[in-house]
């Protein structure tokens, strides 16, 4: 390292100032918006882009907006370049996934140019999930829509803000088209206010540095970020890494289909290419537009690789290319495909695919810091309803509780168990609302809120756990609206021999004995509540709740990391005594047995684990089970690249240019069967194909090498194809 030839301290001071700027925009938005979607669930983002446009700063809330802000701002910058450039006080509203780079129509962005005196210096981007944008759904998400036209208002990039205020005609237009005009318009005003705060701050910063130095430091900081990310990428082995996922769709009265999508990630030197492919687009809201795909890809990248000393700015995009394949698929839809939940359907599957291929590559890095970044998939699903109707105060309520999407588990990490109530990977900082707040506002009575037992995927490090909550429609006769849920049947897989997390679901209890229980002095808990259980489809265009009907949401957990039999029995006993797992799960997943007094039965546990290991490979293992040197690196490539070997006992598994999965013992079981043994939740499918759990084990020590979640009939998932292992097409390219 040498004198970089510029004022490095000045550049760092500039970076901190920009960081403060985007945070102050976020503070302004949170304080002015009333929406719990912003204040509790933190479903918003604020950022600053320069005139390129490239990011200078980004407040860490909804991470996929790193993608949508780039696409939306580029679009506007191109438009105004042909039209004499931007003017101070102008602002655009963007929410169109097809034409505006938005993630979904419910996420409305306000993009405004930022000026210092008369000089255009960049763009402010503020985005939040508003309560409604009209259409067949509610809050902009419409499981019942067959095309994008039924999904509500679309703003491809519409200049409706002049002189810093939204034009009156547009207010009238929006008011006429949404169910909750007051809050929606207030939210737009809040976004304008946040942009104004950002511009004021920017002026102060430029005043302090002078324009020339401000611009110089902007460029320097982007370059430094690019350089660090490139160094990290360069430590990943060159090659092609591939993963598969399936998006669930049972809407419009079926059939219950599983739509395949795949990702190939190519590491070449210090660059990463992501190439997606997917099933043909469908007439349901799962298709993910470019904003959702780019955004969810970069989301997984950020949580895995933006650690330590790596500020997020436009430099981050430079080593990346993202390709979405030919148009007309679920990963690259064209109008009239509906797209209103694309960000959390196909989009969240894309996030999981990216996490998967990154873990595959990280596991094979020579750098121990990068190896420690392997992780299981987070749950990444959205069990939620959006009900609309009168309330006990004589006004109207929208019951759109992000509690259950927030209540999903995180993926297990190499340094700790996955986080409980982690929310979707893309939603950093999300919080869980107090039910006392819900009850004060809406006609609901909460009956329980509890951690779902056995919800975290088993592993040496366990997946994050999830929330179950139930509320009754206690104070009005009826409410109705859509409901949806994206991760019920194909739960998130673990990594490095870790097991999948549990699935999400929801159901109704009609005409329950709620009043009888209360009158008798008994809390209406799940074990006491009787009524007609009604399991609806996962995507419901409209459901009606009648007085006292109960809606139960069961969120799912994150995947586990590493073989569960490597988890210390004492930790398993700790989870048992805390009530996080059941005795049956402790035995089936971890081989841990308690004695009659509830303490660890060491001998029985040893015997149980030995029997499980033998059952895995059909004979007595030749070597004892031991932990791999790096947590979660269950399969390693020999230093010379010639062969794959077991991360635990170093047994040679296969040639380096072959697929080791083809060479090792494997069990292939319907996931419903396996999860029944494990006492874990997964929604059973009534139609073919089945979802399978494929467990791969080391032939010598019986360590779990990988546990794949695939649709029946899928070809064996490929191993990484590495230049170092002499895979021909790559050896020359690498």
């Amino acid at each position: 390292m040498n004198d970089p030839g510029y004022d490095i301290i000045g550049a760092e001071i500039h970076r901190k100032a920009i960081h403060n700027l985007t945070n102050e925009m976020a503070i302004a938005l949170r304080r002015t918006s009333g929406s719990p979607v912003v204040v509790e669930a933190m479903d918003f983002s604020t950022c600053l882009l320069d005139t390129e446009p490239e990011h200078l700063g980004f407040a860490a809330y909804v991470l996929f907006h790193l993608g949508t802000s780039l696409l939306g701002t580029r679009l506007i910058a191109d438009m105004v370049a042909a039209d004499g450039g931007p003017r101070p006080g102008d602002g655009w509203i963007v929410n169109d996934p097809h034409e505006g780079g938005a993630a979904h129509q419910g996420d409305v962005a306000v993009i405004m140019p930022m000026f210092h005196r008369d000089q255009h210096l960049g763009w402010g981007f503020v985005n939040m999930h508003v309560l409604d944008v009209g259409g067949a759904g509610l809050s902009g998400i419409a499981p019942g829509a067959h095309d994008v036209y039924a999904e509500g208002l679309r703003f491809p990039a519409v200049r409706m803000i002049r002189n810093g205020a939204i034009e009156h005609e547009w207010e009238k237009f929006i008011s006429a088209n949404v169910r909750t005009p007051g809050p929606v318009l207030n939210d737009i005003r809040s976004m304008i206010a946040a942009n104004n705060v950002g511009n004021r701050k920017l002026s102060e910063i430029v005043e302090r540095f002078g324009v020339a130095r401000y611009l110089e430091f902007s460029a320097i900081n982007k370059n430094i970020t690019e350089q660090v990310l490139r160094e990290r990428i360069a430590s990943l082995p060159d090659g092609v890494y591939e993963a598969a996922e399936w998006n669930e769709w049972d809407g419009h009265d079926g059939p219950d289909s599983l739509l395949e999508l795949r990702l190939q990630m190519t590491v070449a030197g210090s660059s990463l290419n992501f190439t997606y492919s997917g099933a043909p687009q469908i007439d349901g809201f799962v298709n993910a537009g470019k904003g959702a795909m780019w955004g969810q890809t970069v989301t997984a990248l950020l949580t895995a690789l933006a650690y330590g000393d790596l500020p997020v700015n436009g430099g981050l995009w430079r080593p990346l290319t993202i390709e979405l394949g030919s148009p007309g698929t679920i990963v690259n839809p064209t109008p009239p495909a509906p797209v209103s939940d694309g960000h959390s359907e196909v989009g969240m599957r894309a996030c999981k695919l990216t996490r998967d291929v990154l873990s595959q590559a990280l596991a094979l890095s020579d750098d121990p810091v990068l190896r420690s970044r392997v992780a299981a998939k987070a749950h990444d699903g959205t069990p939620v309803s959006a009900l609309y109707g009168g309330n006990q105060h004589g006004s109207t309520s929208v019951v759109l509780y992000l509690d259950s999407p927030t209540g999903i588990g995180g993926g297990a990490q190499s340094v700790h168990d996955g986080q409980d109530i982690y929310g979707a990977t893309c939603m950093t900082g999300c919080g869980l609302s107090d039910l006392e707040t819900h009850e004060a506002a809406d006609p609901v009575l909460f009956l329980w809120r509890k951690m779902v037992p056995n919800s975290g995927g088993p592993g040496q490090f366990r997946g994050g756990q999830s929330l179950e909550q139930a509320f009754a429609l206690a104070y009005v006769d009826t409410m109705g609206g859509p409901a949806w849920n994206s991760c019920a049947e194909v739960p998130p897989s673990g990594f490095g021999g870790g097991f999948p997390g549990s699935g999400s679901t929801y159901y109704l209890i009609r005409e329950p004995n709620l009043r009888e229980l209360l009158a008798g002095g008994e809390a209406p808990l799940s074990e006491r509540l009787n009524g007609r259980h009604e399991l609806t489809r996962n995507k419901v265009g409209h459901m009606t709740l009648n007085r006292d009907d109960v809606l139960v949401f069961v969120s799912g957990g994150g995947g586990g990391l590493g073989d569960p039999l490597l988890r210390e029995p004492a930790q398993v006993v700790g989870d048992l005594s805390a009530g996080w797992i059941t005795p049956g799960h402790a035995r089936a997943a971890y081989g841990v047995v308690l004695d009659a007094s509830g303490l660890l039965d060491y001998a029985a546990t040893q015997a149980c684990r030995a029997a499980m290991l033998e059952r895995r490979i059909g004979n007595m293992p030749r070597r004892p089970l031991s932990a791999p040197e790096s947590v979660g690196v269950a399969v390693d490539l020999a230093a010379d690249g010639k062969c794959w070997c077991c991360g635990s006992c170093h047994e040679t598994l296969a040639a380096g240019n072959a697929n080791w999965r083809d060479e090792v013992p494997m069990t292939d079981t319907p996931i419903t069967t396996r999860f029944a043994e494990l006492e874990m939740n997964v929604r059973a499918r009534e139609e073919d194909p089945a979802v399978m759990m494929r467990e791969y084990y080391c032939p010598a020590c019986a360590a779990a090498l990988a546990v794949d979640v695939v649709v029946a009939g899928t070809e064996t998932l490929p191993a990484p194809r590495l230049a170092r292992a002499g895979v021909p097409a790559l050896a020359s390219a690498g």
Binding site: M1, D3, I8, I9, A11, I13, N20, E24, R31, T32, S33, G34, S35, P36, E40, G182, P183, L185, N186, R189, I192, A193, V197, I224, V228, E231, L302, T303, A304, A306, Y307, P311, A375, T406, G410, G411, Q413, H416, Q419, I421, Y422, G423, T428, G429, G431, D434, E436, T437, E439, A441, L445, W448, M451, L467, A474, L517, L518, E522, A523, P524
Partner: protein, 702 residues
């Protein structure tokens, strides 16, 4: 100056900090300092050690000093420590059936960070087996839906005490802030069976909507109880045995004192009491000096704390978060960043220099300590550049090694950039100043205040070296370095009153004028409760001040703005007036056109703050007797000035010769026994009659 200390009444302020226990002992109008190491096995020993030091300075025995002490005020970190180290009582929790996992959910633990390794679960404040769920339910309107199952409660209670061996209980029922009947009933049952068991009822400590904070606050109060009460009782006993004659008061993070009895009941109130003492002291000082708006700075070995005073009112942060633990505690708003004298300079992965938050603390300490530290710290940079005299550090108590400081900076910081050691030291200086200025910005600009209207009042052993540079970055033109800077927190305690604060959720829509009598009756009950508590502390009505305020929001919002209320019953005409005031305050805060339209304004929470005023000892003054710079001048030192990027001969002035009314122009250094002050170029330093230094930019100096 009056010096008949031997005959005057005494007032003692003691701040038990993480490293040192500081004493400010005022006898008559003569102040002496006492400092001792904090003794973690028995905090009272360190307190008496420090009192002993101060007594000796007064040429009194400890018995003599305590015997003439009218008031002994104590600030302590014991509660803050219990929480940060997670060492507390074994707590049992009784909770509404169906909701025992609320504590683990903790309102959602995900933090706004990219890195998944930073996403962890909240700490367990109690064993999960020590939770009892009880059938009972109160609804959103405060009506009882299901009665309390007392038999179930009793069985669970016995299990908690007999099997789980809990030492304290928290009772946490849904909507108890609206109707506390079930929590009260539970209390009676517990009292009847276990009269000595410590119990916290959630509505009693935080009667505000939102079960996560309310319940967590109740659990925390029981969690800190054992350690806090052991501390309180030991200190009380030892001080009484040692002859303390006057009152003993404990200082709350809210910025006022409470009695021993109340502190035993609500020990959580002692959270954050140390930094609050400094803020009270700054406010007293600001009033004396006629300063209305002040920003506060305190720099220690590992951190920099800052806060704000507007119109001589200290900003109180409501509902403090301690990492992932969300509380309903209100404390003096202090932002703390990891920047202190021991903060380590390092080079990040981007090749960009950084300072802190990692600290060399006191072991091994900065390289200049010569105790084996090899990393470059802030102190090393200031020694290297000549700001700190190695021979006079901490009053000459130990000698620093300038050569080791230079070597650490050169090897670990400067050389990788091709800089000289001095250039590296200057970079450390600049980064530290930026870090502290950002924190000051956070408490001022980000809350809507313009720092240029403020004076910066800076104390602590190290901060006077940086105070003016921080001020310059924020456009502040006046800096005050208080007399006795190093024990300023302890001194501040002497300026404190008794304070209690009550909050209650009422959720009143201002268009419902018909509910005004109901609101008035709640407010009246709160005022009466607060008054009663103050009278029980021995205050006359004439010495009790009541301030009412309320949190307002537009119906449906989740954040609120606090506005003052008149100290009387509200009349129907007040409703539209308050609505208009809130609307105006909202647009002032967030910009014209941002207020919500067509939505009713809501008064969510009522707050009653009651102050029991007591006499404050006032420090003596020293008459003006200006001396010329030449008379004060001690020496000349060669110092590397970061702003000029050059070595410069800088005059050094002697604190003891710096009589009130004197002034010197920068660049200059003032060596005091407990701190070193740097006066940058184009700055004038003046001393006032209270012996404070006032630094102003020359353009504004008169």
């Amino acid at each position: 100056m009056q010096t008949d200390g031997a005959h005057g009444d005494a007032y003692i302020g003691v701040d038990v900090g993480g490293t040192h226990t500081d004493v400010a002992a005022l006898v008559g109008d003569r102040l002496q300092r006492g400092k001792a190491l904090t003794t973690y096995d028995d905090f009272s020993r360190g307190v008496l050690d420090a009192v002993g030091v101060a007594a000796a300075c007064h040429e009194l025995s400890v018995v003599d000093l305590l015997g003439r002490t009218r008031l002994f005020v104590n600030g302590t970190t014991v509660v803050t420590n219990a929480i940060t180290t997670l060492t507390g009582s074994r707590v049992g929790v009784i909770v509404t059936a169906g909701f025992k996992d609320t504590f683990r959910f903790a309102g959602g633990p995900r933090v706004a960070e990219f890195d998944d390794h930073l996403q962890i679960n909240p700490p367990d404040l109690f064993d999960r087996r020590a939770i009892v769920e009880v059938d009972e339910r109160i609804d959103w309107a405060g009506d009882i839906l299901a009665p309390l199952n007392t038999a179930q409660l009793e069985t669970g209670l016995v299990r908690l005490v007999e099997e789980e061996q809990v030492e304290a209980l928290a009772v946490c029922f849904l909507n108890s802030f609206l109707n506390p009947a079930h929590e009260h009933a539970a209390y009676e049952i517990i009292r009847a069976r276990y009269p000595d068991l410590f119990v916290t009822l959630s509505h009693a400590v935080f009667p505000v909507r939102g079960e996560n904070r309310r319940w967590t606050t109740a659990v925390l109060n029981s969690f800190v109880q054992r350690g806090a009460c052991a501390y309180l009782d030991a200190l009380n006993t030892r001080l009484r045995e040692a002859g303390l004659a006057g009152g003993l008061t404990f200082f709350q993070g809210l910025g006022g004192g409470i009695s021993l009895a109340r502190a035993r009941e609500y020990p959580l109130a002692l959270l954050g009491s140390g930094p609050a003492g400094g803020a009270i002291g700054v406010n007293a000082l600001a009033r004396r000096m006629g300063i209305r708006h002040a920003l506060i700075g305190d720099m220690g070995g590992t951190s920099f704390d800052t806060g704000i005073i507007v119109d001589n009112t200290i900003h109180i942060e409501k509902n403090v978060d301690l990492g992932l633990v969300h509380t309903g505690v209100n404390i003096v708003d202090v932002v703390s960043v990891g920047t202190g004298g021991g903060s380590i300079a390092w080079i990040g992965e981007r090749g960009v220099p950084q300072v802190g938050p990692r600290s060399a603390s006191s072991e091994p300490g900065p390289a200049a300590y010569g105790k084996g530290g090899t990393e470059a710290t802030v102190t090393d940079a200031m020694v290297m550049m000549g700001f700190i005299d190695p021979e006079r550090y901490l009053g000459g108590r130990f000698t620093l090694h300038a050569d080791l400081a230079e070597q650490a900076i050169r090897t670990n910081f400067s050389e990788p950039f091709g800089w000289s050691a001095a250039q590296g030291a200057a970079a450390i200086h600049d980064l530290v100043v930026v870090n502290m200025a950002s924190a000051v910005r956070e408490v001022s600009v980000e809350k809507g205040h313009d720092p240029r209207e403020f004076a910066f009042i800076a104390y602590g052993g190290t901060l006077p070296l940086f105070a003016m540079q921080i001020a310059e970055r924020l456009g502040i033109d006046t800096v005050v370095i208080p007399h006795n800077s190093s024990i300023f927190c302890a001194l501040g305690l002497l300026a404190s009153d008794f304070v209690m604060r009550l909050d209650r959720t009422v959720a009143w829509s201002l268009d419902r004028v018909d509910q005004i009598e109901h609101i008035n009756s709640i407010a009246a009950a709160m005022v009466e409760e607060a008054h009663g508590a103050m009278r029980a502390e021995g205050f006359d009505n004439a010495d009790i001040d009541v301030v009412r305020s309320a949190d307002f929001r537009f119906l449906g919002q989740s954040y609120d703005l606090t506005l003052p209320l008149p100290d009387r019953d509200l009349a129907p005409a007040d409703a539209p007036r308050l609505a208009a005031e809130f609307f105006a305050a909202y647009e002032r805060t967030y910009g014209a056109g941002t207020a919500w339209k067509g939505v009713s304004e809501q008064l969510l929470n009522l707050t009653v703050t009651v102050t029991g005023r007591r006499e404050h000892p006032t420090p003596g003054t020293t008459p003006l007797a200006a001396r010329s710079p030449e008379e004060i001048r001690l020496a000349t030192r060669t110092v590397y000035l970061p702003s000029l990027e050059a070595w410069h001969d800088v005059p050094v002035y002697a604190d003891e010769r710096f009589a009130p009314g004197s002034n010197v122009d920068g660049p200059a250094i003032i060596d005091a026994s407990d701190t070193t002050i740097f006066v940058p170029p184009a700055t004038r330093a003046t001393r006032d009659i209270y012996m404070n230094y006032v630094l102003t930019t020359i353009a504004n100096a008169s």
